[in-house]
């Protein structure tokens, strides 16, 4: 037996032959993701149960495998599921059960492989809605999106960074099974449901919050097999407004004024290019469409729920227009190329294929991090300066500002678009900009690729403790080896 076929045999012993593959076509998507390149996926394996996941991890410990868990379909945008060196891809897409939907308690229990595309219509049938990030990939796993702390577009529902994920089932790198939040027990899920519980409390169990350690860990601490997910009521009335303006500061002022009293549902700020990229599927139109937009646009939604929906919309719109007036901006119901109805549809669904950011040039790279809204203009000028240095036109940078934590901070995302043949130049710009932004105080809370190095250099104390945790939860480095600050030489 070759080494490879021995590997496949061993993996097959856990999940069955039909769920193991070394098909290069499939594996090739794991060689590159976002700016991360050079992965060497050896095989892909599709477990069908928690039990199999546990066995797999035990096997990996015995054989010193590097397991890279992945739940979503390609393209790979962040590189977290691109192995550092050799690795076995664990594709969770077979575990795609919507285990439970609970209208009364507004909660879903879903396995790792459930995508937005699948979940949205099921949830909709109950009169509820899924809390969405902005235009996720069509094949994006809901659980993975939550695990990666993708920001959702309704900041008022973003109370805490774990939202909208609640309880989880984890398999640590030790192979041990664990459940977090109120799912932890006593009792099975079924016993808990019988007792009226719905796995809604996201904290604990007891005096530790392992879910927080697993979230944002890019699969380095534990595999997550299922989670409960908070859902919200689908509005009876829903309307989208645009607030275009040439001065970002005014829109920032308007946003602060409005988010404080929790006005609006969806709330995001886009620059002209990012907006244009969203509203047309035709890449050719984007430059023109972008020119027609105001440099900056706030997009917000206003909703009415079960009770007195019209009145709710009415008071919100009155209060919002008052704030708009004070900030010196004007809400409108359409922008060039996009009516509010159209925007409502765009925001409510995953991105059509191909992924919307490929529209302008075919390829792109994102740079995103967390900061506060008042600091956004400073970062924009840093980004623009770096772009200029590279001869990249300022007005072709996509800027997406997503208030999170009810407006206490923002996810700030820059996108540079380039054709696949310019990838080399694109990467250079990306790296230079990442460094410049880091220098300027960007907080790369989701440190993919080179951001790890930038982010962890700033916080040696965090790194020291993270390594202790890693040692505890994944002592043999079987989970996504070498990622974050867990490069093998440094950990041991």
């Amino acid at each position: 037996m070759t080494e490879k076929s021995a590997l496949l045999e061993k993996l097959a012993s856990v999940v069955g032959r039909e769920n193991v593959t070394d098909d290069e076509g499939l594996l090739s998507t794991y060689r590159r993701g976002g700016a991360v390149e050079g992965g060497e996926p050896l095989a892909m394996i599709r477990p069908g149960s928690t039990k199999e996941v546990r066995e797999l991890i035990k096997l990996a410990r015995a054989e010193k495998y590097n397991l890279v868990f992945s739940s979503s379909a390609p393209p790979r945008l962040r590189g977290d599921s691109v192995p550092r060196g050799e690795g076995i891809i664990v594709d969770m897409s077979r575990m795609d059960k919507i285990v439970r939907l609970d209208r009364r308690n507004k909660v879903a229990l879903i396995e790792a492989g459930v995508t937005y595309e699948r979940l949205i219509p099921e949830v909709d049938k109950l009169g509820l809605k899924v809390l969405m990030p902005l235009l996720p990939k069509r094949g994006k796993s809901v659980l993975a999106s939550c695990l990666e702390r993708e920001p959702i577009i309704i900041p008022k529902y973003h109370w805490d960074m774990t939202d909208p994920m609640l309880c989880t089932e984890l398999v640590f790198g030790t192979g041990d099974l664990f459940r977090t939040g109120s799912a932890a027990g006593p009792g099975t899920l079924e016993q808990q449901w019988a007792a009226g519980a719905a796995q809604k409390n996201p904290m604990g169990p007891a005096q530790t919050d392992f879910v927080r350690v697993v979230q944002g860990s890019q699969g380095t601490m534990a595999a997550v097999t299922w989670c409960s997910l908070k859902l919200e009521v689908k509005p009876r009335i829903h309307k989208i407004w645009f607030v275009p303006d040439h001065k970002l500061e005014r829109l920032i002022d308007f946003t602060y004024r409005s988010l404080r009293p929790r006005l609006g549902d969806e709330w995001l700020i886009l620059n002209a290019y990012a907006l244009a990229t969203m509203i047309t599927e035709n890449g050719q139109e984007i430059p023109e469409l972008a020119k027609e937009q105001a440099p900056w646009t706030v997009i917000y939604g206003v909703s009415g729920y079960e009770y007195l929906p019209e009145e709710r919309v009415a008071y919100q719109e009155r209060d919002l227009s008052r704030h708009a007036q004070q900030a010196g901006v004007i809400p409108v119901s359409e922008v060039p190329g996009c009516s509010w109805k159209k925007m409502e549809r765009i925001l409510a669904a995953p991105s059509p294929e191909p992924y919307y950011k490929t529209r302008p040039k075919g390829d792109f790279l994102d740079i995103f991090f967390l900061t506060t809204l008042d600091r956004v203009p400073g970062f924009i000028s840093v980004m623009e300066d770096v772009a200029s240095e590279f001869g990249y036109p300022r007005d072709r940078i996509g800027v997406y500002i997503q208030p999170i934590q009810q407006g206490r901070n923002v996810h700030l995302e820059f996108t540079v678009y380039f054709s696949p043949e310019d990838r080399g130049k694109g990467r250079e710009l990306y790296e230079a900009a990442s460094r410049a932004l880091s220098e300027a105080g960007a907080f790369f809370s989701r440190p993919y690729g080179i951001w790890s190095e930038l982010a962890y250099a700033r916080c040696p104390d965090t790194v020291r403790v993270l390594r202790k945790v890693k040692e505890m939860l994944d002592p043999d480095q079987v989970l996504n080896r070498g990622k974050l600050c867990f490069t093998p030489e440094e950990v041991s």
Partner: protein, 557 residues
């Protein structure tokens, strides 16, 4: 808990004491027994009849993070343990070992920053809820004040305790309000959780990558068992009312000028189901600034024990009170605009109508209105639970859906009723839950409060058996007893919940090589004294633990 006696108490070594003096100065360290006893008297939520907890060997008053680190290092060097203490409310604040240095953080009392636009405050341990609220209000903001009242440290509850409060419907829960923390680890090293560790400010609590916030606490904090928190950033929430509410009077005689954009409804429903349903609708409508279910009878008993003792001797009146007002719900609405408050009010009225509820708009009743406003807004009513007999305790379960918490209230009530009839606790008409909703009823909380007089030996004798009985009831209901900060209970429930304590012990081992933290409330395990438990209860517990114990495969199906 084992009865805390002085038998094993030893004096601190001269060398260790000298080291402490060198760090904080002679005036900020004490080993005077009477002073130390000031830290050993912790009767609240203490089921040990002695009421005293272990006497620390010394108490220090550091004034800075550096001093805290130094003190912790001294404990590491001298084989001592440390236990931090901020406003020091309840048994959790006290030592559980013999060789503990109590670190009283009282001198670290500043509000370091209030970021008005990004709505957070950076505070030190000895800022109390009322102080933070008063300062936040000046900026149109407010802070979450926990159920234990405005004397408590928001830092302590957010980093180390629970974080439950009536304002949870609008202002969430202690842990979820953290935006970062400065943490002196048990070995004396410093860690800042979140963006502050990168020197980028206190706005984000998580990352880069995994969130170390997950280590510092879960549903409950480690109660100093895993280090000491010396600063934290806490979310503030909008307060569209006046910068100061003018009040005359101190509590029951208070006359407050109630802001116009505040409405306060005391609602009653005919039965449990309609109350339950109505609250789900309230949550979905996303209205409300403060909310709780309260059995009015018990509430009055707490507020006006004299009156009730006199008039409630008759069974009729008791009946009227306890049945007629049983399914009560209190909600305070606050609107940022006139339109908003009108809208919220209209929605509430519609929900009430749909569920056959009726409301007394309490603000319309001058005496009640001005009293309840601050009682709820600043949680100033809470220490009233000490009024009936001097002490109270509470039966906590793990929070989940509103339905489960209403169940818990009923379970708690039935257990309490039995103990009231036996004369084991004071009669507050049994149904006296402290309930809260979180994040527009994303999840809910209930604890059953009972009141007793520690000077009554019969009451003292009831505490431990009641504690066990409540715990068993929680397990039976598939809920973690949240009082599992108790080492006895932890030993019982950890195997039913994924052996969580094995992980806590590992974490403790990883961060605290010298075992310097007092882990009695965090990861220690000790055996229950079941001799005080009725045999049938013990048998029930055995059945339950058998049923729920995790196997190698996970939870038994």
């Amino acid at each position: 808990m084992t009865t805390a006696t002085l038998d094993t108490w030893k004096e601190i070594s001269e060398a260790a004491y000298q080291d402490l003096e060198n760090v904080v100065g002679t005036e900020n360290v004490s080993r005077e027994p009477a002073v130390l006893d000031g830290y050993a008297w912790q009767p609240t939520i203490n089921d040990d009849p002695a009421k005293w907890v272990k006497r620390p060997v010394a108490v220090v008053l550091p004034s800075s993070t550096e001093e805290v680190q130094e003190v912790v290092r001294i404990c590491n060097r001298h084989g001592l343990k440390f236990k931090a203490f901020s406003t020091g409310w309840g048994v959790y604040s006290g030592p559980t070992y013999d060789n503990v240095v109590q670190i009283d953080l009282r001198r670290m009392n500043r509000i370091l920053d209030i970021d008005e636009r990004n709505m957070y405050a950076l505070v030190e341990p000895y800022v109390c809820g009322a102080q933070l609220q008063a300062e936040a209000m000046k900026r149109g903001l407010n802070c979450h004040i926990i159920g234990a009242g405005p004397a408590c440290s928001p830092l302590a509850s957010a980093t180390s305790g629970w974080g439950v409060g009536w304002d949870g419907i609008y202002m969430s829960y202690g842990h979820r309000n953290l935006l970062g923390a400065e943490w002196v680890l048990p070995d004396g090293e410093l860690l800042r959780v979140g963006s502050s560790d990168s020197g980028l400010g206190w706005f984000s609590p998580d990352g880069p990558g995994p969130s170390l916030r997950g280590l510092m606490r879960g549903s409950t904090g480690a109660l100093s068992g895993l280090g000491i928190f010396t600063k934290c950033a806490l979310k503030l929430y909008p307060w569209p009312g006046p910068s100061r509410v003018r009040i005359r009077g101190l509590l029951l005689d208070a006359k407050a000028e109630i802001p116009e954009n505040v409405r306060f409804h005391l609602c009653f429903f005919p039965d449990r189901n309609r109350l339950a349903d109505a609250v789900y609708r309230i949550g979905e409508a996303e209205i409300g600034y403060l909310a709780t279910r309260t059995a009015v009878a018990a509430f009055i008993y707490t507020f006006a024990p004299h009156l009730l003792r006199r008039i409630a001797g008759t069974s009729n009146l008791r009946d009227v009170l306890s049945k007629g007002t049983k399914w009560g719900f209190v909600i305070m609405l606050v609107g940022a605009s006139e339109e908003e408050i009108d809208y919220q009010d209209a929605v509430l009225r519609r929900i009430l109508a749909d569920h056959e509820g009726l409301s007394i708009e309490a603000m319309g009743v001058p005496a009640i209105g001005s009293m309840v406003f601050m009682n709820f807004f600043r949680v100033t009513a809470i220490p009233m639970v000490f009024r009936m007999g001097g002490l109270f305790s509470t039966a906590l379960d793990r929070n989940d859906t509103w339905d489960t918490q209403l169940d818990w209230a009923e379970i708690g009530e039935s257990i309490k009723r039995k103990w009231i009839e036996r004369g084991g606790i004071l009669d507050d008409l049994a149904d006296n839950p402290f309930m809260a909703l979180y994040e527009s009823n994303m999840w809910a909380h209930c604890e059953e409060i009972f009141q007793y007089d520690a000077r009554d030996p019969k009451h003292l004798a009831s505490l431990e058996p009641m504690f066990i009985e409540f715990s068993i009831a929680a397990i039976e209901k598939c809920m973690e007893p949240l009082s599992a900060t108790d080492a006895r209970l932890r030993k019982l429930v950890s195997p039913l919940m994924g052996h969580y304590n094995e992980w806590q012990k590992k974490l403790s081992g990883a961060l605290d090589a010298n075992r310097a933290a007092d882990t009695g409330m965090y990861c220690d395990e000790i055996d229950f004294d079941f001799s005080k438990v009725e045999p049938e209860l013990k048998a029930k517990l055995d059945r339950l633990t058998e049923k729920f114990r995790w196997t190698e495969e996970g939870p038994p199906s």
